[in-house]
């Protein structure tokens, strides 16, 4: 059942060793989830459970190889990991003073921030994959932005799978801590240079947003369409903070992102946007959970999916509002566009509200392209096929517009156009 990777590095501080062991133990106890687990009912992961994964080999990748993934801004600070290993030569860590952008592996003895936060926010068994990841902690990104810092450039965490990684697994573990009143933008990308290869990325990212801090987090998943991507992002927000996440998913034979946002104090704002694509036989799953435990917080969620071929989309959005969380304002919108008769979506919005003075709105639509709109475009001399592509693009563009970083937005827009088949390449 299990796939075991060899340990890469040997010396770990005691606290980290303990954490790893905890992860290993919990994973052994839990095993892989099955369809009997409510959280995994629509997401069969048996291909992952059945497979055996080895250690990903080292690989040489050039800066030129990475150019397409850098949004045209090679000067932005970045941490590059190739097949799970930090590459100093490809990274660029020139940042403002006080800001730390470092590889976990190189820094874990020296960093009090790590000990304070790593594994302290997400539960080791939040999902079996988190336990598995924890048991394999080795490398990943550490970003620490000090109080009051106002970063002028986004920080890019770039994870690349290079050819030769077939049947291997990587377990990146990331920690982003933004201290009080600071403002930062983080981009987390999972891309591949090994288009048809089957491998596993099992990643956990913890994000801590301190008092009155402002964080924008763009997560881009463009793995190989034969690969498996299991990701979990855990966000802890303190008083008066603002966190905005955009999750983009296009790759993976089986891909799942669990996004959990904990609003740990009053007056917190959490905005979660998502866009996912599925084609052929892909399975793309987004599970979100927002925990309103304190009053006067606001969460806003918009997820859109475009499914073609025989792909299968899953969306489960949970919103928990405890009795203390009065004056909660929560909105969740989930829309899926099915481009073929055989595409499928399972959606489940789940609102558990135990406070009586709240405003919670949720809306879900599943459907095909609007016949009237199609007809309208055709009546303006746009052929049916082109009209379909245009409307599909428009469907996606609406949520892509929420990405504030212009170069990133432009790139995502280009990817959408390319996938949908509009624009210069149409």
């Amino acid at each position: 059942m299990t796939a075991v990777a060899d340990r890469i590095d040997t010396t770990l501080p005691a606290w980290l060793e303990a954490l790893r062991q905890q992860g290993e133990q919990r994973f052994a106890e839990l095993g892989f989830p099955t369809s009997k687990d409510e959280e995994w009912r629509f997401t069969p992961i048996s291909p992952i459970a059945r497979a055996t994964f080895g250690t990903a080999p080292e690989a040489t990748v050039t800066l030129e190889d990475l150019a397409p993934f850098m949004f045209g801004h090679a000067e932005w600070p970045r941490l590059v990991f190739v097949n799970g290993r930090y590459s100093a030569v490809l990274s660029s860590v020139a940042v403002e003073s006080g800001v730390r952008v470092e590889s976990l592996a190189l820094t874990r003895h020296a960093q009090p921030t790590l000990e304070k936060h790593l594994g302290r926010h997400v539960a080791v068994d939040a999902t079996p994959f988190v336990a598995w990841n924890t048991g394999q902690i080795n490398d990943g990104a550490l970003v620490h932005v000090p109080a009051r810092a106002d970063l002028t450039q986004p920080i890019h965490l770039l994870f690349v799978t290079a050819p030769g990684a077939a049947d291997s697994a990587v377990y990146p573990r990331n920690l982003v801590v933004v201290e009080r009143e600071a403002r930062a933008s983080i981009i987390e990308s999972y891309v591949t240079l090994a288009a048809g290869e089957r491998y596993l990325t099992n990643v956990v990212t913890e994000v801590v947003v301190a008092e009155n801090a402002w964080v924008e987090h763009t997560r881009i998943q463009r793995e190989s369409e034969q690969a498996f991507h299991m990701g979990l992002t855990h966000v802890s927000q303190e008083r008066d903070s603002h966190y905005r996440n955009f999750s983009f998913a296009m790759g993976g034979a089986i891909a799942r992102h669990d996004l959990r946002s904990h609003l740990n104090a009053a007056n917190v704002e959490s905005l979660l946007y998502g866009l996912y694509f599925g084609r052929d036989e892909q399975l793309v799953d987004n599970h979100t959970a927002i925990f309103h435990d304190h009053p006067n917080c606001r969460s806003w969620e918009v997820y859109k999916g475009i499914l073609d071929g025989r792909s299968h989309g899953v969306f489960n959005g949970k919103i928990f509002v405890t009795p203390e969380a009065q004056k909660t304002d929560a909105k969740q919108t989930n829309r899926a566009l099915l481009l073929s008769e055989t595409a499928k979506i399972d959606t489940k919005p789940q609102l558990e509200i135990f406070a009586d003075d709240v405003k919670c709105t949720h809306g879900a639509t599943v459907g095909a392209l609007n016949e009237n709109m199609l007809f309208y475009l055709q009546s303006r001399c746009i052929p049916h096929a082109a009209a379909r592509r245009f409307l599909t693009y428009a469907f996606a563009a609406e949520v892509v517009a929420e990405v504030a970083l212009e170069p990133v937005r432009a790139e995502l827009d280009r990817l959408v156009q390319e996938r949908v088949g509009v624009g210069a390449k149409a």
Binding site: D150, E181, N212, W214, D240, N267, E269, N296
Partner: protein
């Protein structure tokens, strides 16, 4: 005559005592900052001055322009020029900003014995006011605070302040949750509205706002009482040492 005189004000929310004898004097033309740790009673003070029904005054007096403020209904206080920028501005779906602002504006005019304005005239009034917060007219057809981001809500409070032209403006944590750019716009809006005849009380948890809205006086509220007052340097000292410093001082009685 001072504009606002608070003498030994005590107030509670239900059983819980929050303000325990606050005294403060504010004169026209002054900016006073109230800082303090969470739970110190900063927002309570702001809301009690505006007359929020959740709080009961259990002792003390407040005089505003020579009148007993506590004796007045919230809308009467507003009509006499007291404005509260809410920490959590309230949404009113279905009611446009234009409609709401005109209703408020006309209440002020009525109180001053002036004629009410009709929607057409109000558009001219609005044009000027929108400049204060650097907003375009599109905001007018949106419903009050509905679908507004946190920053937009705070900005809308300052727009309302511009429309109502208060004598005493109380800003309740207007900076909480704003990023630096939004903070600058909100702060410059407040600064644009300053006059020798009006006064501002700025309640804030973070010192940074006070770099933009520079106070004449800074007061620190701990456990429902003002434990230290000073000039703007006090805010910087607080920022450097943290609230624990003041709490310790207050605890040991080292502060008069």
């Amino acid at each position: 005559m001072s504009m606002l005189e608070i003498r030994n004000l005590s107030a509670s929310a239900g059983e819980r005592e929050i303000l325990r004898g606050v005294s403060l004097t504010v004169n026209a033309g002054e900016v006073h900052a109230i800082m303090g740790p969470n739970g110190s009673g900063k927002s309570t003070l702001a809301q009690v001055l505006a007359g929020h029904p959740s709080y009961t005054v259990t002792g003390g007096e407040v005089t505003y322009e020579g009148e007993d403020l506590l004796d007045l209904e919230p809308e009467e206080r507003a009509q006499k020029g007291v404005f509260l920028a809410f920490q959590y501005p309230v949404e009113i779906p279905g009611v446009t900003n234009a409609y709401f602002l005109r209703a408020a504006y006309n209440e002020i005019r009525k109180a001053k014995g002036l004629e009410e304005v009709d929607p057409m005239d109000f558009i001219d009034v609005l044009e000027e006011k929108l400049k204060v917060v650097e907003w375009g007219p599109e905001i007018m057809s949106r419903f009050v605070n509905a679908g507004f981001s946190g920053g937009e809500k705070k900005r809308n409070e300052i727009l309302q302040m511009a429309v109502m032209e208060p004598k005493l403006a109380i800003l309740d944590e207007t900076d909480s949750g704003l990023d630096i750019d939004a903070l600058r716009i909100v702060a410059s809006g407040v600064n644009r509205l300053r006059r020798p005849e009006n006064a501002t009380i700025v309640v804030t948890h973070y010192q940074r706002l006070l770099n933009y809205i520079v106070p004449d006086f800074v007061h620190v509220l701990v456990g429902g009482r003002i434990v230290k007052s000073g000039g703007k340097e006090l805010a910087l000292e607080l920022e450097a040492r943290g609230y624990e410093w003041i709490e310790d001082l207050a605890g040991t009685g080292a502060i008069a």
